[in-house]
Symmetry: C2
Subunit: 209 residues, 2 copies
């Protein structure tokens, strides 16, 4: 297998953290998004959506999207599960992971991609060009404020995203919080529960992946 990756981007980092937590090592190829290598004809054959991460299987088939890749690896390497240890826990991990991606990762993306000079006409990832909307960048910042507050309230009563079980949902939340710094947003000083959880995840070796 080969993992198409880009060291600086938040979504591939979710896969890299997942692999370190699982103890999985896969040949990795860097696709330099700053040089727009994802739009090359060669990469379009690997993933027509022009996105990393992409996992190329030994069959030649390619799997796009973070959760598709990580769930596939979880099946191949079931030890130390990160998507839950029983049906109810798996449902809670899926629910929290999806929630934080939609209300976190996409919100930061809105704030960042609709304001950065580097993303002119590239306000949405993927093969299609879309003009930036400055008002949407502003709304993204409001959504990040609400995300921080909602997570702080959650971590006041819960060690991790799902009880005392470290899961894929924590990986998604952690990379999202770090991604927020791209939109110049960091954990507010009065959000001590969120900061406690962030420090806890940052102390894991996988956080450096």
């Amino acid at each position: 297998m080969k993992l198409y990756d880009y060291k600086l981007a938040p979504n591939p980092q979710r896969v890299r953290m997942f692999m370190v937590e699982k103890g999985i090592s896969i040949e990795t190829i860097q696709v330099d998004l700053m040089k727009t290598e994802q739009f090359s004809d060669a990469f379009k054959k690997i993933n027509p959506l022009c996105e990393v991460p992409t996992l190329q299987l030994d069959s030649g088939n390619c799997i796009a999207q973070v959760n598709a890749i990580c769930r596939y690896l979880e099946e191949l390497f079931p030890e130390n599960p990160l998507y839950g240890r029983n049906p109810e826990e798996r449902a809670l991990v899926e629910s929290q992971n999806h929630w934080v991606h939609i209300n976190g990762g996409l919100a930061v993306g809105e704030a960042f991609r609709n304001s950065s000079h580097n993303f002119k006409n590239r306000a949405v990832s993927g093969p299609h060009d879309y003009a930036q909307i400055p008002e949407l960048a502003e709304r993204g910042l409001l959504r990040i404020d609400n995300l921080f507050a909602d997570l702080d309230a959650h971590f006041a009563n819960s060690q991790f995203m799902v009880g005392d079980y470290f899961s894929m949902a924590d990986i998604t939340a952690y990379t999202t919080i770090n991604f927020a710094s791209w939109a110049k947003k960091t954990v507010p000083k009065n959000h001590s529960h969120l900061q406690r959880w962030h420090d806890q995840v940052a102390s894991r070796p996988s956080s450096k992946a």
Copy 2:
């Protein structure tokens, strides 16, 4: 178990189609979104995100989000799997299902919620209010056009979202195409492959769910 549902909304319909395909029947309670019942104190205790569908388990615990609910039901009722029959197929279903939700369901939501009078200050679902952005409604319509074209190209070479296997990704895509009509967008006349697939899914009894 109890399923909190709203007959007219696109996300709960994904769960209802899934249940009909699987032959699952669960007690269902309507939460009237037009009467904003999702913001009642009673429902906030069930799902603080104020969203349907929500599945309440016999333990009292609640599961929010379509895929968390449907994956949980798939584990309880493994016959006639809709999330794939082997690891690679499961990865492809997850990938396609996620892609069409992000680039389809959310795009239609952008177009609809940022323009409809009924959604003033409610441009994003969930507990927080956000003002509408008319430009985002316009961009949502462009994204729907691209979605239709991308799906038409896909179905030129594939019976379903993942080869000849009907899956959750088809359910998500089908409800998304129907949801697009809320933003006054229907399958363009020249997209015969997409129309062929839509007719095929519409002929399944589950499409009436």
